[in-house]
Subunit: 378 residues, 2 copies
């Protein structure tokens, strides 16, 4: 199988990551519950991972790194915990349902107001519309760092500096970038960065989290046992406990820790993924009948190419790619409804090819050839 | 190290469980996102685990098994998703903060009314007080299946039949029993059973979930991407998607699946754990200066013995046990504030010894000797 569905989850993990999970499963207690060796080892591993993540994302405080089971949970916490009835929020049409559905929910239940930045024909947000979206009650800007459909990277620094200028919170969904494109909270003026461990970070499924700037207040989402302050009726107010209830996924976090180490010593990953994505784009874009979506003239991109072949159903193309060529892609609507609307692909969906550094240029060429053949079958 | 903190998390996992996680980390895609081999393999593994869990807990429908990252999340979903402003709930003093804090939160934010069944001197709920707790607006009974402090098992069948008789929901927290004491939703008349994977079920951290009876309505807690019905603004209403947003912990779930297989072929585990617990209880209970908490005359018990030595700080005893004897226990308040209040151990806490089938009778004897020596030091 040629696995080109890395934007859904990276299937191939570094051996170091798997070994770290195995080691944890052989030795780890419950972090924060007690004071014996199993507990202390777990607590050290988890705190150490917070520290690594803080460094990785440019977060000033390790205790402001909160673990969740995926970025959807982090986004729910960030959105439900900061926005209320009187608020207005600015977001983009690139968003995933993990951002849209919490916003729609708050709109329906509490009357949250939402403005969407319009999108240009290449699927980029029209940043110049920011000022006209601004209202008196605007509380936050929420944006993905890259479209999970087109791979276009959002100019987060621009959104961040606009947010800073107008005293807004800036919540960044780094699900598609963390691990492959630098995410520096300070440089981007991001107040909350939500990430997932199992995509470009190459960590285990069931890991993810959020980095929170020092002065940002987020109401608890889940509440429960914390191993500290048991007699308090409310969730303890200190981070990270405030936003973490119940036993953490220590085994997965150990794997994520090893994944960060791996990423830190493999800075060439972006180049490799970008080269395969670029070669694939160039290889397919002049084939007759192919429509490629997104902006390929920009510098930074997530390693994603979404396309359609004539008016063929994206699902069928994806099936043929897998059945006849052993190439795994993803088709359909990609949980990004507004992006499909903007690109005019609501019905057809799109076939998404997404690359990891474990892919090869040979696989990339094979994928180009497969697309060419399917297009030529007529 | 003699690890006797299995009620916090089982440190030793069956090799089959670790192997299953490794295999998943080498081959698993993102369940429900696409249709290629990696995805299908993940989807099959996850659906297969739902089926096994449904059978394990006597849940009629595999699609009514919902995955969460721990039982705290499952309890938050169950409580926040079924109880509202006008409601009254009956619970017990045995509850963990994972039940208490969501209830207190609803009380504070929406005016939920809460009644606690009183507790007898052995730490059991006074079931005969059930009728007087009942109000016109009583919506549910929520109870743990066993105290995480004393190991006392709650008569869930009695609570369940009372709930059925009066048309109440019965939500059961099986965190301390699932995997070691049978939990049959049908036999217990439970409407929702919440469980965690990393304790007696011997699965990975980061796994857990809930089994839901067919006609029970639970409002979504987290919302976001589901891989299906992308154009819907709301979370899809069908279970399990309704209560699962974002990528599941497929790697952990693969481990949990292997853990269920392991449990199914090792029905002798309860006997072994019970025998060690009973021997430990008998060995320590006649040592001068020892107070053991809980009811040891009952049949079923979770494999837990909580004690104090004279008026010694439980934290210090636990430290001595670890430093001088290499015995890992847990001390302090155990996230069960009302149980400590009922037992008069709010200040002192208690030292908890909890057994797994991977412990041995030799370890049990060593723990008895250690307690004897500490008590005799005077």
């Amino acid at each position: 199988m040629i696995y080109l569905d890395n934007a859904a989850t990276t299937l191939k993990k570094p051996e170091e990551v798997i070994n770290a999970v195995v080691q944890a499963m052989n030795s780890m207690g419950n972090a924060g519950r007690g004071a014996h060796e199993g507990v202390l080892q777990a607590a050290m591993k988890i705190y150490g991972t917070r520290k690594k993540l803080a460094e990785f994302f440019g977060c000033k405080r390790a205790d402001h790194v909160v673990f969740t089971c995926n970025s959807t949970e982090a986004l729910n916490i960030a959105i439900m915990g900061t926005l209320g009835a009187e608020d207005h929020v600015i977001t983009t049409q690139l968003e995933h349902n993990s951002v849209l559905r919490p916003l729609y929910r708050l709109k329906k239940e509490k009357g949250l107001q939402i403005s969407f930045l319009p999108t240009d024909e290449k699927g980029d947000p029209c940043y110049e519309a920011l000022p006209e979206c601004l209202k008196e009650n605007t509380k936050a800007i929420i944006s993905t760092h890259a479209s999970n459909l087109t791979g276009n990277v959002v100019d987060a620094a621009r959104l961040g500096s606009f947010a800073k200028e107008h005293g807004l919170l800036f919540i960044l969904d780094a699900s598609q970038t963390a691990g492959v494109i630098p995410v520096d909270m300070e440089a981007l003026n991001a107040d909350i960065v939500c990430f997932t461990g199992h995509k470009s970070m190459l960590g285990p499924q069931g890991t993810g989290g959020m980095c929170i700037r020092e002065d940002v207040e987020i109401a608890p989402f889940k509440v429960g046992g914390t191993g500290v302050m048991s007699y308090l009726e409310e969730q303890p107010s200190e981070l990270p406990t405030r936003l973490e209830a119940g036993t953490l996924n220590g085994h997965g976090i150990a794997g994520l820790s090893a994944a960060i180490d791996y990423m830190n010593v493999h800075p060439e990953r972006y180049e490799a993924e970008h080269a395969m994505m670029q070669r694939f784009y160039e290889g397919v874009s002049d084939i007759e009948g192919i429509t490629v979506y997104g902006n390929f003239s920009a510098g930074l991109r997530a390693p994603i190419v979404a396309l359609n072949i004539r008016d063929y159903s994206s699902g069928e193309v994806s099936d043929v790619l897998f059945q006849d060529y052993g190439i795994a892609t993803r088709s359909g609507a990609h949980c990004a409804p507004l992006m499909h609307k903007a690109l005019g692909t609501m019905e057809q969906g799109a076939v998404r090819f997404s690359f990891s550094s474990f892919n090869t240029m040979e696989e990339t060429e094979a994928a180009i050839e497969a697309v060419r053949e399917i297009a030529h079958r007529g």
